[in-house]
């Protein structure tokens, strides 16, 4: 592999890491509250509101059913509004975040739903309000699942970021398509695949370790 290609590889790694980390963080910040809102507003939840629950669910399902490559293009006006441009790595972070947030909200919802209702009842019996229940019960008790779900989301984002090449965001997927596939640079293709394997394994390993440390359920 030529030094130029190697430099390209390093830059692509950075672009992929940046896209994954930034959109992962954004999906955590918005997806977790969204997951909490889904749990809180469902029937028998701490802020039961079937109408809000249905509306949230519909919006989330709507975003999740659009193929990412379509979302990438369809969101161009929004991206331009937020980032100022519709091409490049930062521009890709907007559609990636918007796709990952409802995805992560559903994963967080599943973990939060697994929290024993008896614990919520105990917190209510102690005189706790909704905020207490969220802060002391729901989030801490679901934390292992919330972290495990975040790991899954990050890995999914690495895959999704490959498509971001379509709007000139660069990244490993783009490198593999343009050089490895279209220019028959097998060494680039192999290098990209190896780096991706290392990235995915590293994220999964770190996530699993964190979950093991957080999980006190014995």
């Amino acid at each position: 592999m030529s030094p130029i290609l190697f430099e390209l590889l390093l830059r692509s790694i950075w672009e992929t890491v940046l896209m994954t980390a930034a959109s992962g963080l954004i999906s955590l910040v918005f997806g977790l509250p969204l997951g909490l809102a889904l749990i809180a507003t469902e029937r028998g939840g701490i802020a039961e509101s079937p109408w809000v629950n249905r509306a949230l669910g519909a919006v989330i399902n709507g975003f999740r059913s659009v193929p990412f490559i379509i979302l990438l293009v369809a969101l161009i006006p929004v991206t331009r509004l937020i980032v100022g441009t519709s091409i490049g790595t930062w521009a890709a972070i907007v559609p990636l975040s918007i796709a990952a947030t409802p995805y992560y909200a559903r994963i967080a919802e599943v973990s939060l739903r697994e929290v024993d209702r008896g614990l919520i009842e105990a917190a209510r019996a102690m005189g706790g309000n909704r905020w207490t229940i969220i802060r002391e019960v729901l989030v801490p008790e679901a934390l292992p699942g919330i972290v495990a779900g975040f790991t899954v989301t990050l890995v999914t984002l690495i895959g999704a970021s490959a498509m971001a090449g379509a709007i000139g965001a660069g990244g490993l997927g783009d490198l593999a398509i343009r050089y490895g596939y279209q220019r028959f640079e097998t060494s680039v293709m192999i290098a990209v695949v190896i780096v991706l394997i290392i990235l995915v394994c590293g994220i999964q390993w770190a996530g699993d370790r964190l979950v093991a440390r957080l999980d006190r359920r014995g």
């Binding site: 024993d116 008896g118 614990l119 009842e121 105990a122 917190a123 209510r124 019996a125 102690m126 005189g127 706790g128 309000n129 207490t132 002391e136 019960v137 801490p140 008790e141 934390l143 957080l214 006190r216 359920r217 014995g218």
Partner: protein, 362 residues
């Protein structure tokens, strides 16, 4: 049959409302669909007492106990906690009130992500107390329940009995006026159950804490309750001091719940009973309170000459009151002799039931 055994001190079945009442329920009703979970429950819990509510699963116990801290709302009726009507309070007004009421649960409901001391201190955190005070109170309570060395452990590493001790410590953290126990020993083995009940009794005595517990086990009622209320299909069918209800259960459901706890005629004997004809007559004699203290059998032998035999039974002590069930066999076919025995026993406040006859001597 319808008259209670004389109680030594005060023991009225229906106490009047006094300022001493921690809980007063008036005609509580709650329906779930077509089934009535509570169908007109009126009940009083007096300050410092342990009231046990017993019933089969689905009798309405859980709904009842949850009405006391507003986790459940009655359709109609009133719930007074320390004189204040709470059944129509909003969630926000219920929160400070719930801090006056501790609750322990069948499945402990400890937070797995918090250490034992943080679990115990949680009610104080909810109250907004400073951390130093919370930890000091948690240490005090863990000492009370005998788990000081587990302060930094996580609940997953504790046994069932230890978890319930933590549950009790947590329920006491905010110095409640009332402790609600929701089947607190139902998930524990008999030995652990005894130690948890002993702890509750201790707390009741030492702190003068009023306790309302629900259970489906008569053994629990027997070992710690002062008074018992039997609930069936959403109604209180029987209520009174524990020893008196044990001595003379009025309703079928109470008798069935008492089942294994009260002496029964041995099965092989029961199988041989005939409705009439036989050489011996079997009597079931229930005595309690003062009647059971006297030399009943020797007096019987003196007053009514003629043979009788004690076949089975014994005297139990509940709340320092003797409660006995004796199975007597009166031989011979002399109806007058049998009548004299029964008359004598009844004159001594015993309840006598002719169970039947046996052909061969037992």
């Amino acid at each position: 049959m319808n008259q209670r055994f004389a109680a030594p001190a005060e023991a009225t079945d229906q106490p009047r409302a006094t300022p001493q009442d921690v809980v007063r329920l008036v005609d509580l009703k709650r329906r779930f669909g077509v089934t009535a979970a509570l169908d007109g429950v009126s009940l009083t819990v007096r300050k410092g007492e342990i009231l046990g509510i017993i019933g089969r699963s689905g009798a309405g116990k859980s709904t009842l106990i949850r009405c006391l801290n507003g986790l459940e709302r009655p359709d109609s009726g009133e719930v007074f906690i320390e004189g204040r009507e709470i059944s129509r309070l909003g969630e926000r007004d219920l929160q400070p009130l719930r801090r006056r009421i501790g609750m322990i649960f069948q499945h402990f409901n400890l937070l797995s992500a918090k250490t034992v001391e943080d679990n115990v201190a949680l009610p104080l955190k909810i109250e907004g107390r400073p951390k130093a005070e919370r930890l000091q109170r948690a240490a005090e309570l863990l000492d009370l329940v005998g788990l000081s060395e587990k302060a930094k452990a996580y609940p997953a590493s504790l046994s069932g009995g230890q978890k319930q001790r933590v549950g009790i410590a947590r329920a006491l953290a905010a110095r409640p006026a009332l402790l609600l126990s929701d089947e607190a020993t139902s998930a524990l083995d008999p030995e652990t159950t005894r130690s948890i009940l002993a702890l509750l009794k201790d707390i009741n005595r030492q702190l003068g804490l009023t306790i309302l517990l629900i259970t489906h086990e008569m053994e629990v009622i027997r070992s710690i309750a002062d008074r018992v209320a039997v609930i069936d299909a959403g109604r209180i069918v029987e209520e009174g001091p524990v020893w008196s209800v044990f001595a003379e259960p009025r309703s079928e459901i109470t008798r069935s719940l008492l089942g294994a706890i009260r002496p029964q005629l041995p099965a092989e004997l029961a199988a041989r009973l005939l409705p009439s004809a036989g050489t011996e007559t079997l009597l079931r004699v229930d005595v309690a309170g003062e009647a059971a203290r006297g030399p009943l059998l020797s007096d019987l032998a003196t007053a009514v000459p003629g043979p009788f035999r004690l076949v089975h039974g014994g005297i139990d002590h509940i709340q320092q009151q003797p409660v006995g069930t004796l199975f007597l066999s009166v031989p011979g076919s002399d109806a007058n002799h049998l009548a004299a025995v029964i008359t004598f026993l009844k004159a001594r406040q015993a309840r006598v039931e002719v169970l039947g006859h046996v052909a061969n001597p037992v």
